[in-house]
Every structure is written in C-alpha cells, then in structure tokens.
C-alpha cells in the first residue's frame, strides 16, 4: 500500500502541473476550434519555447519567468509567418494537407533542436529556492506553485482577450460561423493569423514554464503534443474552463499512475485516459461539441 501522504502529495503536484498542461492545451484547442486544424507541431513549438527560456537563462541568468515572454513573442511571430507562408495554402483543404505540412514542420523543429543543443536534456532554474510551504498533508513546492499561478494568469488573460477585446470577439464569431463572420465584415484571414499566433505563443509559454520543472530534450515534442491533445479532448474543444479542469485531471492521474504503477507508466496512464475519453465521449467531458462550423 502507498502511504496516504504520498497520495495527497501526488495529487497536489498533479494539480500544480495541470495548470501548465492547460496552457499547452489552450493553444492547441484555440487553433483546432477556430481553424479546424490540429497543430501536429504544437509539442515541438512547446519544446522551442522551453529552449528559448533555457538558453536565455544559461546565457544571461535572466529568470525563465521573463524568458517566457521572449519565448511567447518569438513563437507569436513564428505563428504569423507560419500561417502567412505555409498554412494559408492548405487550411480548408480537408485534413490531409494541413496535417502533413505540420508533421513536416514538427520534423524540422525537432531536427533543429537536436542540431542546436544535441540530444541532452536540459532544464532552467527558476532562481527561487526549492523549499515551500508544508500544508500538513502535502508539501507545496515554491517553483511548482509559482508556475501554476503564472499558468492560471495566462489562461485568465486569454479568456479576457477572447471575451472583451474586439479581436477576441471577432475570433469567437469566426469560430461560431466563418461565413457569417465574413459577411459581417470580419477579415477571417487576419483572424486565422492571429489565432495561430496566439496558439503558438501559448505553446511557447507552456514550454518555458515546463523548463523550470522538468528536463527538456529535442524529442519531447510528440509526448507533449499528445498530452495537450488529451487535455483538449478531456475539456472539450473551445472550452477554457474545461481546459483547466482537463489539465488538472491529466496532471493528477499521471502522478497517481506513476505512484501506483511505476514511473515508466506515467505517460501510459495519460495516453490511456486520452484514448478512453476519445472513444467513449469524443466531444469531451465538458465540451458541447466542436467550435468549428
């Protein structure tokens, strides 16, 4: 039997990790819901974001919490270029072409990551002590808590952006009905560019946050893509609250899986939950169906 304290500790750590998973998933969910493409390179963009934070930290000692904004900015621009140069040719062409273009992009990002940094795993240092608050039933590590708070703030900011800004409202209108949005004078091509840029920037942010907690290597892209997609499926495409809940569910179940079945099964647990939900309730636990047309 596993001690009760280990269980509650795993749950607390899982909740804190779930916030970052939710940030990663939010970017994927936005792009999926609005543009109807699955960004197969999302995990690799997350990896790039992590490396930006790691490299900035290694070169200058700047905390990855600041490096995160650099990663977001870089991936925002990358998203704009990606949509304008490549994806505009294939969006709306059925699923084959976009999925293959993004598969190719994932391949390129992984290879570049490998060339720049080699295959070794690296991590960044948050620069705050690893100790934290003892809650009695569990220990609240300071780095995990800080990254969780930042993650929740990012999710809140994205929600506010979609809710209150004109661009955000246009994005939601496009998600509801692209044709109608276009008739109402919304430049849907521009909306796609912004949506992809916000989505990739969120991948960058999630990567920077993860780099403070876990070692990152150039091959983590596929694994984080699947985690992010699992959260999207758990939470439902286009649901921000669902994404946060889905992230927490995934984080907790991974940690409990690792505790009971051994570390090798951490990812197996999340994948099986993912496949299970996908097959039994593809619209997500909290979803009301796809956000697309």
């Amino acid at each position: 039997m596993v001690a009760g304290e280990l269980v509650s500790q795993s749950i607390v750590n899982g909740i804190l990790l779930g916030g970052i998973y939710a940030v990663a998933a939010l970017g994927l969910s936005l792009v999926f819901g609005i543009m109807d493409i699955v960004n197969l390179a999302h995990g690799h963009m997350l990896m790039v974001g992590a490396y930006v934070a790691i490299l900035v930290f290694a070169a200058t000692g700047i905390t990855p919490l600041v490096g995160m904004f650099l990663a977001m900015g870089l991936l925002f621009v990358f998203g704009i270029v990606l949509q304008k140069v490549l994806l505009k040719h294939v969006v709306g062409e059925g699923i084959e072409q976009p999925i293959i273009v993004l598969f190719g992009l994932a391949l390129i990002l992984q290879n570049i990551g490998q060339l720049v940094l080699g295959g070794d795993a690296r991590t960044a240092d948050l620069g705050i002590p690893g100790d934290g608050i003892d809650l009695g039933f569990a220990f609240l590590s300071l780095p995990r808590t800080v990254t969780f708070v930042v993650a929740v703030v990012l999710i809140g900011a994205t929600w506010a952006f979609l809710q209150y800004t004109k661009t955000g409202q246009a994005i939601r209108a496009t998600a509801q009905n692209r044709k109608a949005a276009r008739y109402m004078g919304i430049d849907t091509d521009r909306i796609y560019v912004i949506t992809l840029a916000v989505g990739t920037a969120l991948a960058g942010a999630a990567g920077a946050l993860l780099s403070m907690l876990f070692p990152i290597n150039p091959f983590v892209g596929w694994s984080y893509l699947l985690k992010a997609f699992a959260v999207v499926v758990l939470g439902g495409v286009g649901s921000i609250l669902g994404t946060l809940v889905g992230g927490v569910i995934l984080g907790v179940s991974e940690n409990l899986g690792a505790l009971y079945l051994g570390g090798g099964y951490r990812n197996v647990v999340s994948l099986l939950i993912f496949l299970g939900v996908l097959l039994l309730k593809p619209e997500g636990l909290f979803g009301s169906g796809g956000g697309g047309e």
Partner: protein, 359 residues
C-alpha cells in the same frame, strides 16, 4: 481531394513497355547481393523495406483516406513477434517454440494484422483528425509498454536475434535476407495492386471521397477501412520482421519509434499519395535522400526531408509520380494509343501553379 486520385482503370501493368521495365528492375534487384558489396546490399534491402512501408501505408492513407500516424506500431510488433519466434529464449519463452526465420517473419506479419483486426473496430470510431491523433497515441502506448516489459523486449538495451539459417557455407545471411525481402516486396506490391484495381480499391476510394455518400449507396465504410487497415498492417509487420532479422538486433526504440511512421509518410508524400507507383518512386528518392543527404549535409538531412514534404504537399501534391506521369508515362500511353481519359485531365492537374491556386 480528387486531385490526389488516379484512375483505377489505368492499365499500369498491361502496358508492355512497363512490363519490360519491371522485368528488368526485378532481374537487376535479384543479382544485387551477388555482384555488390554487403553494404550496398543492405542499402538496397533498406530501400525494399521502405517500399513495403510506403505501399502499405498508402493503401490505408492514400486509398482509404485514413491518415494513420501509428504505422510504426505494426512494423515494430511484426519485428518483435518474429524475433520472439526465432529467438524465444532471449524473451523468456521456451526454446521449443523456435521456428525458422521465414515462418517466424510471416507469423510476425500475421500478428500485426491480428492486432489491427482487434483494434480496428474501436479506433475506426474516430475519424479525421481524431483518427490521426488516436493512432499516434496508440503507437506511443505500445512503444512505452514494450519499453517497460524488459523481459519480453530487453528494454532499451534490446537483444540479439537468432539469425542462423543453416546455409552459411553457401550464402551469407544478409544475401538470404535480401532475397526474402525482395520476394516480400514483390508480394506486397502485387497484392496491393490487386486490391486497389479491384472492388476493394473502389470501395476504399468511395469512402475516401465522401464517406456519407458512399455509405448511403450501400458501401460499408467500416468494412473497407478494416480491409485496408488489416492488409496494411500485415505488410508493415512483415517488413518489420524482415528488417529485424536482417539487422539481427532489436529493441523497442529501433523498431517501434515514431521514426518508422515518419519514414512511411515521407516516402508516400514524395512519391505521390493515392497513386500506385508513387510509394515505389518515393522509397527510391527517400533512400537516396536518407543516405546521400546524410553523407553531404550530415544531420541537417532530417530538416531537408521535413521541408521537402511541406513543399511537395503544397506545390506537388501528386509527388514524383505526378511529375513522371507528365513527362514519361503519358507519352508511353499515347504511343500505346489506349489511354484516352488520362490526357484530358492529368496534365492540368499536376501543374504546380494550378494545384496551388485550387482554393
């Protein structure tokens, strides 16, 4: 996606000039192990494995329209089941179940097909994006579980495969494996050809074009998807078993990793998705790229492969086959005088500018 399609009635093998070319190619391949170095034989064998992977993935993705990102799972499971049967003691099985390589490899393919048969009805509840991601996740689960089952797979260190054919005085191991792989490749191509030219191929294309319409006309989508999936998995597993018994070493990362899925996809995109000869041409180009580029630009090769599949899918969605058809095969057809439908639409379709402007 009609521009990815070929005409099923196109008499590819009925063309005499093509028959002669095919005959020469097969004869040339047959003598490869006897006139070249071991390294070159191994290289061509790898190319044949690429052909098997490409042709089998194309049946599922190009014809039946199911973009699977889990092909590596079937390649790897075929490799492992074959290895367990030729080398039972390494995986903790009783030595008495040891089988000859040929039988073990075929059983490896059948095991992969059986896995597809069991998983198919469940995984085909997903479609489109969900199917692609679901198959990626499924392959990841299989890889992780196999990696963890050290007693069966040797974990990340893997184990050496028993490859004694009892023929070592006459021919080398690599040469025998080459000939077996050549036969398997020809069988793969011939069987797939029969399927796509027959009723099965028509059914697959119908659900690829419009699943709902096909369904309302009495085509059972699940039946044709399963057909493509099981056959495709069998040949992927066969390729895995042959490759494992050529390299004589096996571990989960070298056989089950997403790399094999990537390779299959790149081969088919380069050659031409949904075209019959495409994956064969694609495998040849990919082999050249993989070895040639690696020699010239080293580790940048993967980046170039990624860039190529992006450029091909945007500007040349019919791949090399589309190009070749424009410049060579159409001419052959005209001199044969029997290919009326092709001249009407093949040329404008493959024009890169028009393909790019299609939205």
């Amino acid at each position: 996606m009609s521009f990815l399609e070929r005409h099923p009635e196109e008499p590819l093998v009925a063309n005499r000039r093509l028959q002669a070319v095919l005959g020469v190619v097969v004869l040339a391949l047959l003598v490869v192990p006897f006139v070249t170095t071991d390294a070159l034989t191994g290289l061509v064998l790898t190319g044949l494995v690429f052909v098997m992977l490409g042709v089998s993935w194309n049946l599922l993705a190009g014809y039946a329209g199911q973009i699977s990102l889990g092909h590596a799972a079937f390649f790897g499971m075929g490799a492992f089941v074959a290895a367990w049967l030729t080398t039972p003691s390494a995986a903790g099985f009783p030595a008495s179940i040891q089988l000859p390589i040929l039988v073990a490899v075929v059983l490896g393919g059948l095991a992969a097909a059986l896995i597809a048969l069991v998983i198919g009805p469940v995984i085909f509840r997903l479609s489109g994006h969900y199917f692609a991601i679901g198959t990626l996740a499924l392959a990841a689960v299989i890889e992780l579980v196999m990696l963890d089952q050290r007693s069966l797979t040797g974990g990340s260190t893997g184990y050496y495969v028993q490859g004694d054919l009892g023929l070592n005085e006459f021919v080398s191991h690599g040469d025998v494996m080459f000939l077996l792989t050549l036969v398997a490749t020809i069988v793969t191509i011939a069987v797939t050809y029969r399927i796509v030219r027959g009723a099965g191929g028509l059914g697959m294309k119908a659900i690829h074009d419009d699943e709902e319409a096909a369904s309302s006309l009495g085509v059972n989508p699940l039946k044709y998807k399963m057909y493509a999936f099981v056959v495709s998995s069998f040949f992927a597993g066969l390729a895995g078993g042959l490759y494992g018994h050529y390299t004589l070493y096996i571990n989960p990362e070298s056989t089950l990793a997403v790399t094999w899925t990537i390779d299959s996809l790149v081969i088919v995109i380069l050659g031409g998705m949904g075209t019959f000869a495409g994956p064969v041409l694609g495998a040849a180009l990919f082999l050249l790229l993989d070895t040639g580029l690696a020699a010239i630009v080293g580790s940048v090769a993967t980046t170039i492969e990624g860039a190529l599949i992006i450029l091909f899918i945007i500007y040349l969605p019919q791949g090399l086959y589309g190009l070749a058809e424009d410049y060579f095969i159409t001419d052959v057809g005209k001199s044969g005088g029997a290919q009326a439908p092709k001249s009407t639409d093949a040329t404008p379709e493959t024009d890169p500018d028009i393909a790019a402007d299609e939205d």
